[in-house]
């Protein structure tokens, strides 16, 4: 455990610098920009889940007064190829076909044309006037159906990747993946107890409250400026440039404030359409999605089908585990089966394991990243199995996990040995937590589960400007989705030794700061924070040099202490310490303005583990599940802004509980989502939840100057299995399909009662 460190501002919870604008309505989100002469874009979407486009006739729409531009697949360049990196990345051609269908529509809601008109109502009238002739094809809607050898194909040119031999016929299985260690057969042979399970989880949506929105403005030279809500404007620029075959230099992306993303705003949808419409109409074009469009055509995350088997000795030592997992990719390859496979056994020291994973096309929207992509589904299966194992062994579920917990030096299932990690510390904290040591309420069930996420580093840039009065402006490239400006200001204030109130952070557009990957992968406080700290260290070096010059000393004879340049110990100099403000005031005479900068590709993002538990009541008459209490314990490495770390843990818990208890994409037999609105796709509301108790564990990440681990994604992972295990505990019935909604609970109770008769 690291030594106690005496920080001045890190670990406090000051008001965020962008806060006042966000509680008064001044902050501008994606749909909040109105430009002079602006017109409105709308998208025509496929009424079929699977069909060939025979003909599109836009002439009647174009003739409507007030319609300025109409586009469809033929207006896009056809030559795209290659890969785009990053969390929202993938194949360029797939991305291009997802934003606008070409020859085929692959899901209900797939974009087939778009218009721009003087008003939204004229735009909608124009959409109705576009004629599209379809040849309707049978939709493929489930993993079972899609994986059958005789299944209708979404893509006749898709051959399964990563098979030992190139397959001789196309398939809906885009790729397979295997991960293994040791010998599972021998491992299971050594086990005294074996549990097996099979779990299904339907598609779920990120459910950010702000629908996708953008405004594009293109000039006569073909240069476009795009204002949009995005988790990463640099990557949006790269994707839009590729899809439209434009020069990156001709595209400027300005990130608006962002109303939630959770991974869903790492990928473009409207932006290339708006650019084309504005190019054609020579006017600024605003495009906003309706909530229904958000559900039908963006996000979601994969529905999954997972089979799991775990074996252990009588004392609880796990000897082997195996998993088979199929993930729905939606209309194009790219389900998060990789991270699903790599995370499923990550919390455990397992000598023998095997994972087989499948990335499977179905006629549903192309999945996008969703908070710890792939892990909630796979780890739900494992954490349910571990719960069953604890029951069979008669062990406390935390003790069983402690017995097998990964620790520093354990080889992770995905390869490297873990550096210092906080799993054991979280488990021990859970074991002694008053919410765990107290008895559960009468009739209630208690569930426990572990969560995990890898976290990533990737590229970040930051500049630090010292204003003429010594205050500090931090410029970085990561949209602030949950208080990251405050974290950047805290790290800058701590490093420079100035008060938090003297520092402000802003997010530069693609022309005013260096490249930065998306706000995603729980990387911003870690990687961009690291860039901010390094840029501040650059400032300190410059300040020391300027103080040395002022004093006639050598740079090595000056130190930086509490925001001041001072002579180093033992240096005989009769000088007054120079504050940042003193040096800034004198900057013109010592070499000009103070500008620090750093750019990096951050390595060593430490994994973050969590332990969650909760008490749940199940109403046997209505099937309703009530969350009575919920406790989230997580290793944050170091909490920079304590309240926003707690906020990540609480928000992730709520999101995971929504997924566990209510949220699902419900389809009819034609592949039409039946609940594409917040009334029927019911995310948790305030009255659904109790207060969510948190305990932050701090096992510092040695790769970060302040010990930060990403905290954003891990919190959504454990709640799914906490809910499953608690309902299992309350009812005595293991339900193997989420969400644990009233109809599913009632059906399980009835089936159990019928079985008992």
């Amino acid at each position: 455990m690291a030594e106690a460190v005496d920080f001045k501002v890190i670990g406090t919870s000051p008001v965020r610098p962008d806060g006042v604008d966000k509680v008064t309505g001044r902050a501008q989100y994606g749909a909040d920009l109105n430009l002079p002469g602006m017109i409105y874009g709308r998208v025509l979407r496929s009424p079929h889940a699977h069909a060939r486009i025979k003909r599109i006739d836009t002439s009647r729409a174009e003739a409507i007064p007030g319609v300025y531009a109409v586009i469809c697949g033929r207006d896009f360049p056809r030559g795209q190829s290659g890969e785009i990196g990053g969390e929202g990345g993938g194949d360029v051609a797939d991305l291009a076909k997802n934003v606008m269908a070409r020859d085929k529509v692959l899901y209900h809601g797939h974009a087939v044309a778009a218009v721009a008109a003087r008003s939204p109502r004229i735009a909608e009238e124009a959409l109705a006037a576009i004629e599209v002739e379809y040849e309707v094809l049978p939709p493929v809607l489930t993993l079972e159906q899609a994986m059958r050898p005789d299944a209708p194909l979404l893509d006749e040119h898709l051959y399964t990747k990563n098979l030992p031999e190139k397959p001789d016929k196309p398939s809906n299985i885009a790729a397979v993946m295997q991960l293994a260690r040791g010998n599972v057969d021998e491992g299971f042979a050594q086990a005294d107890v074996i549990v097996e399970g099979e779990y299904k989880i339907p598609m779920a949506h990120q459910g950010y409250i702000e629908p996708h929105a953008c405004v594009a403005n293109t000039n006569e030279a073909g240069q476009s400026t795009v204002w949009c809500c995005t988790q990463g404007h640099f990557e949006f620029r790269a994707m839009t440039a590729k899809v439209l075959e434009m020069n990156v230099a001709d595209l400027k992306f300005i990130p608006s404030e962002i109303g939630g993303g959770f991974g869903g705003k790492t990928v473009i949808y409207l932006e290339p359409l708006a650019v084309l419409l504005s190019r054609k109409s020579r006017r600024p074009v605003k495009m906003t999605m309706s909530r229904e469009e958000v559900f039908r055509a963006t996000g979601p995350t994969s529905g999954t089908w997972i089979k799991i088997k775990v074996g252990a000795k009588k004392d609880g030592t796990m000897t082997a585990a195996s998993a088979w997992m199929a993930y729905e990719a939606g209309a194009f390859p790219g389900a998060p089966m990789g991270p699903g496979a790599m995370s499923i056994f990550a919390p455990y020291n397992l000598p023998n394991f095997k994972v087989e994973a499948f990335d499977v096309l179905v006629n549903k929207p192309k999945v996008a990243a969703y908070r710890a992509p792939g892990a909630p589904q796979s780890m739900h299966a494992m954490e349910c199995a571990v719960d069953e194992l604890a029951r069979k062994l008669g062990m406390d579920p935390i003790d069983l996990r402690l017995k097998n917990a990964a620790d520093e030096g354990t080889q992770a299932p995905y390869g490297p040995k873990f550096p210092p990690i906080g799993l054991k510390a979280c488990l021990e904290a859970a074991k002694r937590h008053p919410n765990y040591t107290r008895p559960k309420p009468p009739g209630a069930g208690r569930g426990v589960a572990v969560g995990f996420w890898f976290n990533v580093g990737m590229q970040s840039s930051a500049e630090v400007h010292i204003n003429e009065n010594g205050t500090v402006t931090v410029v970085e490239g990561n949209p602030d989705i949950g208080g990251s400006r405050a974290s950047m200001c805290l790290m800058a204030a701590e490093t420079l030794g100035v008060p938090y109130q003297n520092v402000r952070a802003l997010i530069g557009d693609t022309e005013s700061t260096g490249f930065s990957n998306v706000t995603g992968g729980s990387r911003t406080t870690f990687a961009t924070g690291m860039a901010v700290v390094k840029a501040c260290e650059d400032i300190i070096a410059q300040c020391k040099a300027r103080a040395a010059a002022t004093w006639g000393l050598d740079e090595s004879q000056v130190e930086w202490q509490d925001g001041h340049a001072v002579p180093a110990p033992g240096v005989n100099a009769d000088v007054k310490p120079l504050s940042l403000a003193d040096i800034a005031a004198n900057a013109a005479r010592t070499g000009g303005p103070l500008l620090g900068r750093a750019s990096l590709n951050a390595q060593g993002a430490g994994a973050s583990f969590s332990v969650n538990f909760g008490d749940f009541a199940v109403d046997r008459d209505t099937g309703k599940v009530d969350v009575l209490s919920f406790t989230a314990i997580q290793d944050a490495g170091r909490a920079i802004h304590k309240a926003y770390v707690e906020g990540q843990m609480q928000g992730g818990a709520a999101q995971g509980l929504g997924w566990a208890l209510n949220e699902e994409y419900i389809y009819d037999e034609n592949g039409v989502m039946q609940n594409a609105g917040f009334l029927d796709y019911r995310i948790p509301v305030a009255s659904d939840l109790p207060m969510i108790d948190t305990e932050i564990i701090e096992v510092p990440n040695p790769s970060h100057p302040y010990g930060v681990r990403g905290v954003g994604e891990t919190p959504i992972v454990a709640p799914l299995a906490v809910a499953s295990n608690a309902v299992r505990d309350a009812l005595g019935i293991r339900i193997n399909e989420l969400p644990l909604s009233p109809p599913r609970i009632l059906a399980a109770i009835e089936a159990a009662e019928a079985g008992a008769r």
Partner: protein, 159 residues
């Protein structure tokens, strides 16, 4: 299409606008009057991001026709703070870190104000049910509830 001429009051100020008969108050606030503090999350009355007060009654402005604002008193998030500064609800949202992305915040501030105007001392359950029409996907509501509880205290005992 002939537009309707509507005279209304927004945040205490008399406002005139022209609108199409089918336009919602939300659309006119945002697109015609440039008051974009009121957000659209669903346009079907399910998320509360567009909450405003009409004559002190809490409504979803996406479910109100713009023409219905004729002669009414409309209060939006832009009208909650005063010359003295932030309203205690706004201040407590900041102090409690009760917003992450912040897009639901304008609606929650309005809804919380409507609650505390009626019931200055609500218990936790009352707050949770009153705010159940305002979706937040980021916070898990914990810090929002605490902010409203704290704001109620401040309003009852101003410093």
């Amino acid at each position: 299409m002939t537009k309707l001429h509507v005279t209304t009051s927004i945040n205490g100020e008399e406002v005139d606008f022209l609108c199409e008969p089918q336009q919602t108050l939300l659309e006119v606030l945002r697109e015609t009057l440039g008051r974009t503090g009121t957000k659209e999350g669903c346009a079907t009355g399910d998320c509360g991001a567009c909450s405003v007060l009409i004559n002190d009654r809490l409504v979803c402005s996406c479910l109100v026709l713009a023409a219905e604002a004729q002669g009414q008193q409309v209060t939006t998030v832009e009208g909650i703070a005063s010359e003295e500064g932030l309203h205690p609800i706004q201040q407590k949202f900041l102090e409690h870190a009760a917003l992450q992305c912040g897009v639901c915040t304008p609606g929650l501030v309005i809804a919380a104000k409507a609650l505390l105007d009626r019931d200055p001392d609500p218990d936790e359950t009352t707050i949770r049910y009153w705010l159940a029409g305002n979706l937040c996907r980021c916070t898990g509501y914990d810090k929002i509830i605490r902010a409203v509880q704290d704001a109620a205290k401040t309003l009852a005992h101003p410093a």
